[in-house]
């Protein structure tokens, strides 16, 4: 069972998420309302995954993510924010977070994102592909090969390297090689950042979600 912590300054949301995520079968081992308490909690509770709000009263959830990943490299961080700001998104992805979820989404979407990240995948809220698409970005000549685009598309949908390998009938090592090449080509810092850049450049597109007006 995935052990997770919730770090959000909104008390009702924090305590509500503790109950809702527990009811969904996750092992919520603690919650904190600020950066300092979050660091302390994760040092002691040693969760698999941290759900982190970006705006915290004593600092940024993005800075907290950087600190957490330095101290706990195996920790999966999902940033959970009400801000659909492109610059904040880039900074968040640069921090090493494996998931980026908007509070505009439903609880089911949040659960799906947590599950994908806990299973070793990554997740970027589908609403952000529109935000990231810009005329400047889409004017770029695509740099990725069809196979690389296919793999990044599957990765953006939350599939792990193992699942992608099975789906397109190549070895997991081949998938990882393609992903490394994409990260290098796009000058990304990690695979989630690469997905964000590929979306921004229009090289991959996600299907619209039900209820996504």
């Amino acid at each position: 069972m995935t052990k997770l912590v919730v770090i959000d300054d909104h008390e009702a949301l924090r305590s509500g998420l503790e109950v809702l995520l527990s009811q969904a079968g996750l092992d919520v081992v603690g919650a904190a309302g600020n950066v300092a308490a979050g660091l302390d909690l994760i040092d002691h509770a040693e969760p698999d995954l941290a759900l982190v709000d970006i705006r915290l009263p004593d600092g940024s959830g993005i800075d907290l993510t950087r600190q957490l990943l330095q101290r706990h490299p195996g920790l999966a961080v999902v940033l959970y924010t009400g801000d659909a700001d492109a610059e904040l998104l880039y900074e968040g992805l640069d921090s090493g977070a494996r998931g980026y979820v908007l509070k505009a989404g439903s609880m089911d979407e949040l659960l799906s994102a947590i599950k994908q990240v806990a299973d070793g995948g990554s997740y970027v809220d589908p609403r952000l592909d529109r935000i990231l698409l810009s005329p400047r970005a889409t004017s770029h000549v695509p740099q990725l090969s069809p196979r690389e685009r296919e793999i990044m598309h599957l990765m953006a949908e939350g599939h792990t390297a193992e699942q992608i390998g099975e789906k397109i009938t190549v070895s997991v090592e081949t998938v990882r090689t393609h992903v490394r090449n994409v990260i290098r080509k796009l000058q990304a810092r990690n695979r989630v950042h690469a997905i964000a850049i590929a979306l921004e450049r229009g090289e991959i597109q996600l299907e619209a979600q039900p209820g996504d007006a």
């Binding site: 959000d8 909104h10 009702a12 949301l13 509500g16 998420l17 109950v19 809702l20 009811q23 009400g82 801000d83 509070k103 505009a104 439903s106 609880m107 089911d108 949040l110």
Partner: protein
């Protein structure tokens, strides 16, 4: 009367602030709606109270923004 940028900023903050209680209310309402008899009476009461409390938070936010 506030100028347009102020009004836009206030509206953006209101929308942002409403998301947290909305998420709580939606989540607990879904839990109650999907329950197939596994929740205890105490849990049902607690979850309904959380929906009501979140709705009260939303009302307070909207009233404060008038």
């Amino acid at each position: 009367m506030p100028d347009a940028p102020d009004a836009d900023a206030r509206l953006a903050k209101l929308v942002h602030d409403l998301r947290s209680p909305l998420t709580v209310a939606e989540g607990f309402a879904q839990l109650l709606a999907r329950d197939e008899g596994t929740l205890t009476a105490e849990q049902r009461t607690e979850f309904a109270s959380r929906v009501a409390s979140a709705m009260a938070d939303m009302r307070a936010l909207l009233d404060a923004a008038r």
